[in-house]
């Protein structure tokens, strides 16, 4: 069950190991990490041992803590990825930069909900001890990235919760939460922390760090902190960054001598000038994640030879692009918010089916009475509309071609439906050009190919003369495809048929009885009679869809 992603970075290849979550429901007592994607980064590895003191190497401590944390989080239902599961560098033939960048890239590609880098500390003074937890400030990273206030605020919150949990579990000295632009904390869009678990240089702490029970205790503590973070509103909210964490962008760490005087732009924007592969590395063998269209906006993070490491803001996906294929740009224009979908009413003017889906393979639920009121409750989807049938709990698809515009159904109880409200108009004939994008006003019809004025008049129970009069048409009655015609209103013109009113039998559902046969399921019965499973459960007082027996009789509303 171990799935491995391959992430080529320059000449180097880093394997990220995804540990699939356990399916056993037993251990999942509503942990707040459940369903979260968490990247665990055991610090150092391979030729980089990290700190060495009192005979203990940092890389040999960070890995078992990371593995303990991984099993713990998996048991709680989290999706866990580890940047390494053995004693390796993430860039065996590359540089330290590339090793660190691979760790960031792991979190970016996983669109992780949190990134936790595990380390052990060292100081020249052997008395120094305790826990230190780092979050990343807005900028100052060697990789060149910058973080939003939300990024910094969430990382700060996560750092505080993990630091508190570490001190609570280990009773060690708390050196506090600190903001430092360590490379791996420059992780845009992802709450990221670096935990310095204890000091290898401290004679008391080094043997503890090497002890498997203590390693497990640290993993438990980090797990506590992660659960506490995801249980809080901070994980989805915008907790405030600590004071100074955003201001550090200007002046304090100038990129060069001149930058301290002239405030350099924090973000460099580029645009592609041609079709450009977005690669996982800087050579021709690197995987191509995507091909970017010309004029795609990219955020430059760093450069590596003839390649630039960039972030595609549209997908939040990082990768490398050939520097010759991009040019300088300003930031992308703000994307106008899409107007929210507004539900609207239609009626079916021909007998039709309800469908379980929008595609040809969908199952049909038996016939829908003509002139049913249907509320379109989702944006259009191909040739079918997703509708809620008035007066029932049926939510299903219906063919666009079978319905036309309508107002809402009349109120059943408050007033007798003596006359249909003026807003209810006859439905339009098929095909309807764009009923959902710009629903035709009630009382109008769009001329389709093959339509004639006499056919429309017959369909709507009016006359050619009335249509010509209402629409100021030429005397010969010529019309064009796409033309909108006003339908003569009942009060003012010669309408011979009144607009439809809902069939009382359809509006007040009746029930019939069905006997459960071998092989029947509730959903099968629901589908057969065009009703929802929930309506069957409600009508028959059933506790669960799993509990029907052969020979049992069920009431079905029709």
């Amino acid at each position: 069950m171990v799935k491995s992603f391959t992430l080529a970075l320059s000449a180097a290849t880093a394997c990220l190991i995804s540990l699939s979550s356990l399916s056993a429901a037993a251990a999942m007592a509503a942990s707040s990490v459940s369903g979260k994607t968490i990247v665990i980064d055991p610090g150092h590895g391979g030729r980089d041992p990290g700190a060495i003191a009192n005979g203990v190497q940092e890389k040999t401590v960070t890995l078992p803590i990371g593995q303990d944390l991984a099993s713990l989080l998996q048991g709680e239902g989290a999706n866990v990825l580890m940047t390494r599961t053995s004693d390796v560098s993430l860039a065996p033939n590359g540089t330290q930069d590339q090793d660190l960048q691979a760790r960031v890239q792991a979190a970016q590609q996983a669109h992780a909900d949190a990134f936790v880098s595990i380390h052990a500390n060292i100081a020249a003074d052997p008395h120094v001890s305790g826990v230190t937890t780092f979050y990343g400030p807005a900028c100052g990273y060697y990789s060149g990235v910058s973080l939003s206030a939300t990024d910094v605020g969430r990382s700060f919150s996560l750092a505080n919760k993990v630091d508190s949990a570490m001190v609570a579990r280990t009773s060690e000295h708390d050196n506090g939460v600190q903001g430092v632009a360590y490379w791996v904390l420059g992780n845009p869009g992802i709450p990221a922390i670096l935990v310095e678990t204890a000091f290898l240089s401290n004679g008391g702490e080094a043997p503890k760090l090497a002890d498997s029970a203590y390693q497990r205790l640290i993993a438990d503590a980090i797990g506590d902190g992660l659960n506490s973070y995801f249980a809080s509103g901070d994980a989805t909210g915008t907790p405030p960054p600590p004071s100074g964490a955003m201001a550090s962008c200007q002046g304090a760490s100038p990129k060069d001598d001149q930058a301290s005087q002239a405030a350099a732009p924090v973000v460099t924007w580029l645009q592609t000038t041609a079709l450009t592969p977005l690669r996982s590395g800087t050579d021709a063998t690197a995987t191509t994640f995507a091909t970017l269209a010309p004029n795609t906006y990219l955020k430059r993070i760093s450069s590596s030879g003839n390649f630039l490491y960039v972030l595609n803001p549209a997908t939040n996906g990082p990768g490398y692009v050939d520097a010759s294929k991009v040019g300088p740009s300003g930031p992308p224009p703000p994307v106008p918010a899409e107007p929210p979908f507004q539900p609207f009413w239609v009626q079916n003017f021909v007998p039709t089916q309800l469908w379980s889906g929008a595609n040809a393979a969908a199952v049909s639920f038996g016939p829908l009475p003509t002139w049913s009121y249907l509320q379109v409750v989702a944006p259009p989807n191909g040739s079918r509309l997703f509708v809620n049938v008035a007066g029932s709990t049926n939510v299903a698809y219906v063919d666009r071609a079978a319905v036309g515009p309508s107002g809402p159904p009349p109120a059943h109880q408050s007033a007798p439906p003596a006359a249909a409200p003026a807003s209810i108009a006859p439905a339009a004939p098929a095909p309807i050009a764009t009923p959902t994008a710009t629903p035709a006003p009630a009382g109008s019809v769009t001329v389709a190919a093959g339509d004639t004025l006499s056919r429309i008049a017959a369909h709507y129970g009016t006359t050619v003369a009335a249509l010509i009069a209402a629409n100021h048409l030429p005397p010969d009655g010529s019309i064009q495809v796409g033309q909108q015609l006003v339908l003569p209103s009942p009060g003012t013109s010669a309408v011979t048929a009144s607009p439809p009113t809902p069939d009382p039998a359809a509006a007040a559902p009746t029930t019939k009885t069905v006997t459960v046969a071998a092989g029947d399921t509730l959903s099968g019965i629901a589908s057969r009679y065009g009703v929802s499973v929930q309506s069957l459960l409600d009508l028959n007082g059933l506790p669960s869809a799993d509990l029907i027996k052969i020979g049992q009789t069920l009431k079905v509303s029709t």
Binding site: E58, Q96, A123, N175, A181
Partner: protein
Amino acid sequence: MSRVWAIALTLTLVLTACGAGGAAPERSNLSGPPAAASSVAPGATTSAASGTPPSVPPSGSSPSAAVQTVQVYFTSGVKLVTESAQVSGPDVARQAIERLLAGPATTGDYSEVPAGTRLQSLNLANGVASVSFDAGFYQAAGATGSQQRLAQVVYTLTQFPTITSVRFLSDGNAVGMLGGEGFPMDRPLTRGSFPSVQA
């Protein structure tokens, strides 16, 4: 070289005017930022930073009476502490770094700078001190150790009012970052680059 020399000379004069003295080594815990800078006359900074040597030494001071007290930064626990050191001659900044590389004189003080580190060069331009150490200085340390190591150098150099930031070099080349955590050092560092270091 003559320009660096001139700046250092200016510094000497500035420090003379401060009237610092006392027996070395003398150690003190710091409670706040730049001790030396605050006691220096503002005019001295301007003149030194411009690289223009004063044409006439201020009356009452003698270029040869150049025994100065400077602060050298070491560590004790998670904090930076200072030890006072007597230096003489124009190149006080270089001498302060040499004292730093020699290690602490007080029991209970430590240095994060690896033993045996050699100073390759020290130049000053526009307030930025470019200091080159051999590769031994850049060997990995943990999060606390690596930050304190850089901070020791930055704090020691920026006590001089003519130095506002420090660019680290190795064999004369820029260094991008330090250690397996990736502490950024591809730009001149100031005391503000170490918000978590207590001094």
